[in-house]
């Protein structure tokens, strides 16, 4: 019984794991998988555009200084297939983002997860590396 339960759980995990995100860019050329960053801030702009959606957030540092970060996600068609719409995230929303920083040290990153602070709802980032092009 225990074995079949384990097999079932493994099967479920396999299904969930077997549908990774779409992506466009050569992730490794632009971002560093070993530079994770977690940011919370207010959305200032959303570019719901091909080949990749970008959004920008104002992040307040411990010194009170505000920095604007650019965050890349998947393509709109990929996000739509995951249930996003162009209205899923709006200017003014406060979000928490887990991302990988740009290699060049700029305030850009590739978002893996996006959570809406108001509801705790996890919007999926569909980061651009998983099926990376």
């Amino acid at each position: 019984m225990r074995t079949s339960l384990a097999a079932c759980v493994a099967g479920i995990l396999l299904i969930l794991a077997s549908v990774p995100a779409i992506a466009h860019h050569s992730f490794a050329a632009e971002f560093d998988a070993n530079k994770p960053v977690k940011l919370t801030g207010s959305v200032t702009k959303v570019e719901w555009m091909n080949p990749h959606t970008w959004f920008y957030i104002d992040v307040k540092g411990e010194d009170g200084k505000v920095t604007n970060w650019g965050l890349e996600m998947g393509s709109p068609n990929g996000l739509m297939r995951n249930g996003w719409t162009r209205n899923s995230m709006k200017v003014g929303d406060v979000v928490t983002v887990e991302a990988s920083r740009a290699k060049d040290g700029s305030n850009n990153a590739n978002a893996r997860t996006v959570m809406l602070a108001s509801t705790g709802q996890r919007l999926f980032a569909a980061s651009s590396q998983n099926e990376a092009r």
């Binding site: 490794a28 893996r112 980032a125 998983n130």
Partner: protein, 297 residues
């Protein structure tokens, strides 16, 4: 049994929720079960006495990403599904090795039979983190990369012409089935998509393509996969398409390219029908920032 039900529920839930483009518009002639779902195991549709390959197709198999991207996928940071949900078909012992998206020859015994010239090209491409990958630059991909790209493709079959449109980068191939012959190799101007003719051998559509632009043509040319396994202007591709059931498309791709490979090789690409779905617009160059961001341009 409960497990099977749970798995089925997940598949259905995922299938039902992730598609939100065109409103659902059921295909008129699809075989369906009592719940109205298209029967993937249903009979192969036919037209003019031949299997009809028309439909929207998405790759059925996926391979894990290469080592340089492992870090980002580990530790619970896995990206989220946005690719249309599909599952692999049961293994087919008679099939050629399954093609792999990242590096085409992963399942070939000994890997791709690269010539020293091709190995050098691939090494350079990988050393540059595949920045010239045509997919990342909104350019046409090689036939194998196009077939395995996560975005779907639509095949439109008419009596004398088969068209394949790829959602990714708006790829477009014309395959003439009107009896014309392939142009002699080296004669016409090489094209991104080459020149393709098709003929039926029983229920198998055999498509031959030559006179392609190759790795010597430009940085985005001649890519078989994400890691830049090259092909040259001398390459000839032979694709064998079969649709054994309503929901399955098998494509066996043979690459002959003496400049890049010491011998021909063949890989299998399985596709699953996206019933009742349509492609989503993808205008790649709308806001392309990749090359400026990585300071290439």
């Amino acid at each position: 049994m409960k497990c099977a039900v749970a798995l089925l529920a997940i598949v259905i839930a995922v299938s039902a929720t992730v598609f939100a483009q065109w409103p659902k518009y059921p295909e008129a002639n699809a075989p369906r079960d009592a719940q109205g779902r298209a029967l993937m195991d249903g009979a192969t549709p036919r037209t003019d006495g031949k299997p009809d390959l028309t439909g929207d197709w998405v790759r059925a198999d996926r391979d894990p990403p290469p080592a340089e991207l492992k870090g980002i996928l580990g530790g619970g940071a896995r990206g989220i599904p946005v690719e249309p949900p599909t599952q692999p078909f049961p293994p087919d012992p008679k099939a050629p090795p399954l093609a792999t998206f990242w590096d085409l020859g992963t399942n070939l015994p000994g890997g791709l039979p690269l010539t020293s010239t091709a190995a050098e090209v691939k090494k350079k491409r990988m050393a540059a983190d595949s920045k010239d990958n045509p997919d990342a630059n909104c350019m046409p991909m090689g036939i194998t990369q196009f077939h395995m790209q996560p975005q779907p493709r639509k095949i439109i079959q008419t009596p004398n012409l088969i068209v394949i449109t790829y959602e990714a980068n708006y790829g477009l191939r014309y395959i003439y089935t009107d009896g014309r012959r392939l142009p002699p190799q080296g004669e016409p101007q090489p094209w991104w998509y080459g020149y393709s003719v098709g003929r039926w051998e029983g229920d198998t559509l055999v498509v031959e393509t030559n006179n392609l632009r190759g790795a010597e043509s430009g940085p985005y040319d001649g890519w078989l996969d994400v890691r830049g396994s090259p092909y040259s202007e001398q390459a000839k591709f032979t694709e064998r398409f079969r649709r054994p059931t309503f929901g399955k498309l098998e494509i066996d791709v043979t690459v002959e390219d003496p400049k890049s490979y010491t011998k021909p090789f063949t890989v299998r690409i399985n596709q699953r029908l996206l019933a009742d779905e349509e492609p989503i617009e993808f205008v790649c160059n709308e806001n392309q920032q990749f090359r400026s961001r990585i300071k290439v341009d």
